[in-house]
Symmetry: C2
Subunit: 290 residues, 2 copies
């Protein structure tokens, strides 16, 4: 199978067979992020004979596209369901892309928070919201056997990204799910640091990137919202302070939004948690993908 035929901007870096499908890694020159970006894709066997729907996976702090690819065991289920997995990096990368001046893990490289930065020096490269919503799916759907039937999921910072992007673009995603998401970043330390840095001190600008605010502002228009599934481990070191799951639960109840938010006893914040429940998430998405 050839990929991105005629597109000199995309390079195939790695290709491995897994569960009868193909685990692929590409590098491309991103216009949105003004740097070269890697992303991984799993194509199920069904992609050999036609376009397949896709689950976009957004990873958490410090991750790249490789963590989910190697640790979640998602390819087995995706191969069974005939669903592609599209796995971007978590921030712009490379020389010239500024990082946290102290090298902190929760800002800068590996910590793009899926927002469009407005503040210097971040605004030039840190446009992850537009990259995930527009540039990456346009690229994938132009050069791979992947249709525009999309679902979105993610973990922690990526769970925040999946909820925010899915809620703000409900016409583009048929379902949303998240593991251990940061559901109310305007009220936790991770979110406050990231949003103050990328978006500036005017907290009104932060609200467009807060899942709980977005759900609240939709009020009772629950028919507009894609089906949502959230799993949260109750042995998670970052729960409740950074994740604030109860805020989402309250808004979900108040607005009758219909999100399914579950606690999983004894599970922590790691990929072992994701591996344990990714099958349920992918089957949830597949049942909603056209």
């Amino acid at each position: 199978m050839a990929f991105f035929t005629g597109n000199a901007n995309v390079e195939l870096k790695d290709q491995k067979k897994v569960f009868g499908g193909q685990q692929l890694r590409f590098r491309h020159a991103s216009n949105t992020l003004q740097c070269d970006m890697d992303f991984s894709v799993f194509l199920p066997p069904q992609a050999e004979v036609g376009k397949v729907p896709a689950v976009y996976w957004l990873s958490g702090l410090t991750c790249t596209d490789e963590n989910f690819s190697s640790k979640a065991g998602a390819q087995r289920v995706a191969a069974d369901l005939g669903v592609a997995l599209i796995i971007p990096d978590t921030s712009p990368r490379g020389e010239g892309v500024p990082d946290d001046p102290d090298g902190a893990y929760d800002f800068g490289l590996g910590a793009g928070f899926y927002v469009n930065a407005t503040e210097a020096p971040w605004a030039k490269h840190y446009q992850m919201y537009d990259y995930i919503v527009d540039e990456l799916p346009n690229l994938v759907e132009s050069g791979l056997p992947v249709s525009d039937a999309r679902a979105i999921s993610g973990h922690s910072m990526g769970g925040h990204g999946a909820l925010v992007i899915g809620l703000r673009n409900s016409e583009r995603y048929s379902s949303i799910s998240a593991f251990s998401p940061i559901v109310n970043p305007i009220n936790c330390a991770w979110g406050k640091k990231a949003f103050a840095g990328y978006l500036g001190s005017d907290e009104r600008k932060w609200r467009q990137y807060d899942a709980s605010v977005l759900l609240q502002e939709r009020d009772n228009r629950s028919h507009d919202i894609p089906p949502i599934l959230v799993d949260q481990g109750d042995a998670d070191n970052f729960y409740p302070e950074q994740l604030r799951t109860e805020t989402l639960i309250a808004v979900n109840t108040e607005t009758s939004a219909g999100a399914k938010i579950r606690f999983q006893e004894g599970y922590d914040h790691s990929y072992y948690f994701i591996a344990s429940f990714i099958e349920e998430h992918l089957r949830f998405h597949a049942s909603n993908l056209r």
Copy 2:
């Protein structure tokens, strides 16, 4: 659940819930290896109510106990089958343990080759054969809800280890399997370097650690041999030169040993290959474990 109660030599370093069971990481002072060693264990949910049988997994060059734990997706199947996974490191470790003088990946740390070294300076610590055959199972069975019903499996150098240890101790293992094993190390570059270093220049001493030689020397006594399953990817960069699969196939045919040796089209040497077929291997072992 308490582990290794009353044994001050064993420290629990990490514990995570996965697929309803427990992924555990321990450190202990090894008498055999004369150093502290880490090992990982997956206990399925069934271990809460009684002893469970175990599959021992031997990893390949450069690996620790963590590669298989995080990348193979084996816990899902082991939880379903009620089988423990016992995952040792691939060599002695720590200060005072000598490494390859050039820091090569294929000798010394991460490359113990599951032999008992006889040559200085390796002999003091590099006794991985005895560690895997005796010390580790004795420790595990004394302090965890794991029975002495054992199977053994591994990848590459660890596939070599599983075949050699299983063939030489057929009373201790009810089945053997391997992914991409080095089946004839006395005739490949990896094996010649390792065996010359650990065992000296007398090649007659190498033969006790060569799966093809061991199978050949059993001749037609195939009733002594545990059931064997081998999977080899035909897109593996190390096939055929380092792995020499055809040698094992020829001996298996000649001696009617009954090993099932399969080629898997398009798969390489990576953990994506292992992940794709670990379910079949674990079900094979479970069907043979008492």
